[in-house]
Subunit: 206 residues, 2 copies
């Protein structure tokens, strides 16, 4: 069940990449530190032809990136388990993307705009429902932009069934879908209506 086995799953279309990136919220951010890759999970968002990352000014991995070390951002999700007639031919439906390259540290208005774009990916519509961020809050946040350059990314999608012709009539083959869904919002204070931003997420599943 190696999910890279079939090379034809690789795609190189930017629209495919964006669709994969926009469908998820958390990436694995990795940097090479000597002989070892250092990885951390991180929330991310696509802003046009860039990936936006942010974090505390004290975060070690972000400091390495800010100092010029190339970033590797990997996102993936399982969409289903593909049950074939053998374990060897069984597989998973999935979407994944990897983007690599040096990042740019944003500041001023560019940082504020990128942070807002990131927020709109992670909590769409929420920025309009809360007070603006303060100067102090913005200053405590590192905002990084990873440009998505040609040749710097791979996107892979496996979809569909086993791709095989059944050889027996008693072994079930097919796909068990896997979905990511929202649950019922859990309020911290009673009596305040669920906001429009969350209603929209529940309606769209995003």
């Amino acid at each position: 069940m190696p999910i890279r086995r079939l090379p034809e799953r690789a795609q190189h279309d930017r629209a495919d990449l964006y669709a994969v990136l926009d469908a998820m919220w958390v990436a694995t951010l990795s940097v090479a530190v000597g002989e070892v890759a250092q990885s951390v999970p991180i929330l991310y968002g696509r802003d046009g032809d860039s990936i936006v990352l942010h974090g505390s000014t004290g975060a070690g991995t972000l400091r390495l990136l800010a100092a010029g070390r190339p970033a590797t951002v990997c996102v993936s999700t399982i969409d289903g388990f593909v049950y074939a007639e053998s374990l060897f031919d069984s597989s998973a439906n999935y979407r994944s993307a990897v983007v690599t390259g040096p990042v740019e540290v944003l500041s001023g208005a560019a940082a504020d705009a990128a942070l807002l774009a990131l927020s709109e990916r992670i909590m769409p519509g929420r920025a309009a429902e809360v007070r603006p961020s303060t100067r102090k809050e913005l200053a405590a946040t590192v905002v990084l932009r990873l440009p998505i350059l040609e040749g710097s990314y791979t996107v892979k999608v496996r979809d569909g069934g086993t791709g095989e012709t059944p050889t027996t009539d008693d072994t079930w083959t097919g796909v068990l879908p896997v979905h990511t869904v929202f649950g019922t919002p859990v309020p911290e204070v009673d009596g305040i209506p669920v906001p429009a931003s969350i209603h929209a997420r529940l309606a769209t599943g995003r």
Copy 2:
């Protein structure tokens, strides 16, 4: 919303690590290649105090690991979005684990046993429902074991609400849960009953 911001989220208990590892199926596998971290998504499974990885004998990243390059395995999942009164204090509930170290290439009976353990994590119960793998299939598969050594892993969990006392009575705060669920099995051939392995998954959600 940096998901690493609060250091108290870090845990170092092996039971916590195993719980996080056992709750997911796909990891980001990274290796340092010169100045750049090379990442690929990969199915994995925990087998006792090791992580098992497998893939085609032709997969480049696995070849690097087999040659002695340390592996970094990162898993993460979002469990909810935490809506605070400001974007700055908003966050995500999540679970993540990172395990690093050199891998061991398994062969013979050890490889077969590890592969079976991996299969039981990814498709529990399926091995008993299909024909055994052939020698040829097993020979085409690289099986790697990443021992989970003390000091070689980190596990982080954020759970709960905003942790704040409301300062307004008109801004909704709380958590929007995110769940991973199975859909309805999609058969490739009509008339064959859904197998026990899938019924069990649907019942347990695993």
